[in-house]
């Protein structure tokens, strides 16, 4: 029997939109609301909810300038967020690497039978 332990998956990053936001911010120095909307292909309302969740977890920082229609929201990833994303991605890769050999073993068993 395999002794592989599944890594604990971070529930905050186990959401498509939040994951997209974090990956985009980790690849850049900073990005504003409009850019994140375009790259994640989501609505402004949904994005603002997810940004608030990530901000609450200290994964990103949000700076706002201006008021009303002229306001400008810029997001930066924090060190905590960067390391959480790294751990999450490593966990996924670990699980994926574990699954691929076991699938191959199952397929070879079937072919033998």
């Amino acid at each position: 029997m395999s002794t592989f332990k599944f890594p604990v998956i971070n529930p905050l990053l186990h959401s498509e939109l939040r994951l997209k936001i974090m990956v985009a911010l980790a690849s850049l120095e900073s990005a504003d609301f409009t850019y994140l909307c375009e790259i994640t292909d989501c609505t402004r309302g949904n994005l603002s909810v997810q940004i608030a969740t990530l901000k609450e977890a200290d994964y990103i920082t949000v700076s706002k300038t201006g008021v009303g229609p002229l306001s400008h929201t810029v997001c930066h990833i924090t060190q905590k967020g960067r390391s959480a994303l790294q751990v999450y991605e490593d966990g996924l890769r670990q699980m994926f690497d574990e699954r691929v050999p076991s699938r191959e073993a199952e397929e070879s068993k079937k072919s033998v039978n």
């Binding site: 994951l19 690849s27 120095e29 699980m95 994926f96």
Partner: protein, 198 residues
Amino acid sequence: MDNQQELDIISSIRGEVMANRELTGENLFLAWGYPTVFFLIVEFVALQVWNEDWCGWIWAGIPLIGIPLMLYFVNEDYERTHHRTLDQNVIMMMWVFIGFACCVGGFAMGMANVYRQCLFPLIGLMCGMGCFMTGIILHFRPKTVCGIIASALSAVPLFLQGDLWHWQLLVTAVIVIIALIIPGHLFRRYVRKSYIKQ
């Protein structure tokens, strides 16, 4: 979402971010280059006409014009692209440091009365090094080459001492043209061409 899908999302977003990165900062070299050359020439002329101590501080006008222009162009770039990459941040921080080093070094040398010996070689060397490193980071060869030439020329003012020291200003203006204005125009043309392609 299974882990295969999540890994796909990570790589696709990374790829999209990399593909959508836009070249920016095409006006920053010019925003610093033209005021620097202007004030150096004004200082040279003022020293030729009046030759008084206050004329030696005209260069301090460079950051007064350069900093607002830089902030304007940085904001304009951000409004256009809506993001800033790590490379752009490194380049900006490097030039801010170079600007501060030149200003602080200039004031310190003025106070220590070694302004005539050391200031202009320092400015030339700083501009040349900044241009060289920017070229390396952006993979833009003209900036790298101009940076090397400007850094090499920054030694020339060291040989213009005594009565000839006013000429250091003109040599430094030439160094700034090589380090900032020529690569600035070449980079601007390159960035404009890349827009047209997109």
